[in-house]
């Protein structure tokens, strides 16, 4: 199974302050461990939200809001995509990650949906239905 690991932003990351040499070295070592263990699929750091934008949907309308965004702790500063055997394995790896920020910080672990996750409940007929619904949605747009 796959997990998206989300590194939350803080004041510094949002201000565009780059990690210091020590953290870069530690993070580099950690990334190397992930690669060596065959866990790492992808990963990137993100620029501050001041360089980003949002598109807000309301019915048929779309409006564009430029960054920065205020709710710093809910913003994402970077992500990984990992291949793990269980959520516990992902947790175990995150615990080995150097603190990505100075002081307090949070890293969120989210499991990626895969068709198999629906298990026996998600029968072939239901899958077909889901595909049909997707096709209908695509046709409407």
């Amino acid at each position: 199974m796959r997990f998206m690991i989300l590194i939350k932003a803080d004041k510094n990351s949002e201000a565009g302050v780059l990690p210091d040499q020590k953290l870069l070295t530690e993070m580099g070592k950690f990334n190397e461990e992930l690669v060596k263990a065959g866990v790492m699929l992808a990963g990137e750091g993100l620029q501050p939200s001041s360089k980003g934008a949002r598109v807000r949907f309301s019915g048929k309308n779309r409006s564009v809001i430029d960054g920065p965004f205020s709710e710093t702790k809910e913003l994402i500063a970077g992500f990984w995509l990992w291949q793990c055997k269980s959520k516990e394995e992902a947790i175990e790896w995150v615990k080995r990650c150097p603190n990505p920020m100075e002081g307090e910080s949070e890293v969120e672990i989210r499991q990626v949906f895969e068709n198999e996750d629906f298990g026996a409940e998600f029968t072939p007929e239901l899958r077909a239905q889901e595909d049909r619904i997707r096709a209908e949605i695509a046709a409407r747009q």
């Binding site: 263990a37 065959g38 699929l41 055997k85 269980s86 516990e88 947790i91 072939p124 899958r127």
Partner: protein, 419 residues
Amino acid sequence: MTESATHRAIDAVWRIESAKLIAGLTRIVRDVGLAEDLAQDALLIALERWPETGVPDNPGAWLMATAKHRAIDRLRRSKLVERKHEELGYEMESHQETAAPDLDAAIDDNVGDDLLRLVFISCHPVLTTEARVALTLRLLGGLTTVEIARAFLVPEPTIAQRIVRAKRTLSDAKVPFEVPRGDELAARLSSVLGVIYLIFNEGYSATAGDSWTRPALCEEALRLGRILAELAPQEPEVHGLVALMEIQASRLRARVSPSGKPVVLLDQDRSRWDHILVRRGLAALERAEKLGGAVGPYALQSAIAACHARAKTPGETDWARIAALYHQLAQIAPSPIVELNRAVAVSMAFGPAAGLAIVDPLVSEPALEGYHLLPTVRGDFLAKLGRVEEARAELERAASLTRNTTERELLLERVAALR
């Protein structure tokens, strides 16, 4: 943390640490079977203690220290001959002496080498292929006997026995714990790659049972391949194999229809391909080519897979290049299977008659007797050439030969459509 949560956490630690643990212990005790027993002992102690104490900060080091204590305990109690005792004692002392200032760091430095040795010993030619597969999944994948048995649809005692026998064989043959060198390396590496690819294929194209694919085995093989690519980064064929598996795995979710039936490559919805894996596969292929390994058997196969991966629609597929790559592959690794694949590529590039000309001589090939894909391919060419009666006979024959129930249904549907 509840007890079951701790157990799951311990499983996770085991998944991450077990191979390193067993590899490090094997270097010390020089017996992979004993090393695994010691690692299992440490795991049992962890299962007893951690629910109370919590998982330690450095669980890997904890397990290693515990396993080493067990090793000493066992030595004291065992009736091992004195000489062996001394040997082991010496190994342990000298290991600790050399590593004295910073044991953890010293272990870390050796981890890569030890793991690579463990890879080679698990896939050693004194073992049967089945034993290599089971031992690799157990020692390097950290899978339990139950998990391996489930993956291969065989009873658990069969796998357990296979592993016990494999460990005994290695011990009896006094197989050294080392990375082969010189001329031996190529052959031994090819055995390792063969084992990993076999695991992958067992998952990718389940040879028996109702399930068309068992993705967990593919994931496991991919993980082993990715680990090996970092352990032996200078070996182009390792990257070739990783590239091949990444690209093939990228199609896993597209090659089964909603009703669970296989969808052949050209009918797949390419938007459902896993483009992260495609990108990783192409990067691995590039790594193999940069190391001068473009002509290795796995690199060539992955180059073929890459031709499909790069085509945004089936119509864009460069069949002439694929046919040329199969021709190259036939030069270095000639086999009737490669010929059969080449025939398909040639037919796509130059028409079914050209393909049939390659396939017809294969009909008398003893190695392909009873192989369902030969009549499948031949039947397809014949159908395209309008030779309906012959095509039906071939497809029916193919249906009678395949062991996979969903594939059989697909073939019989095609026969019905030819009426």
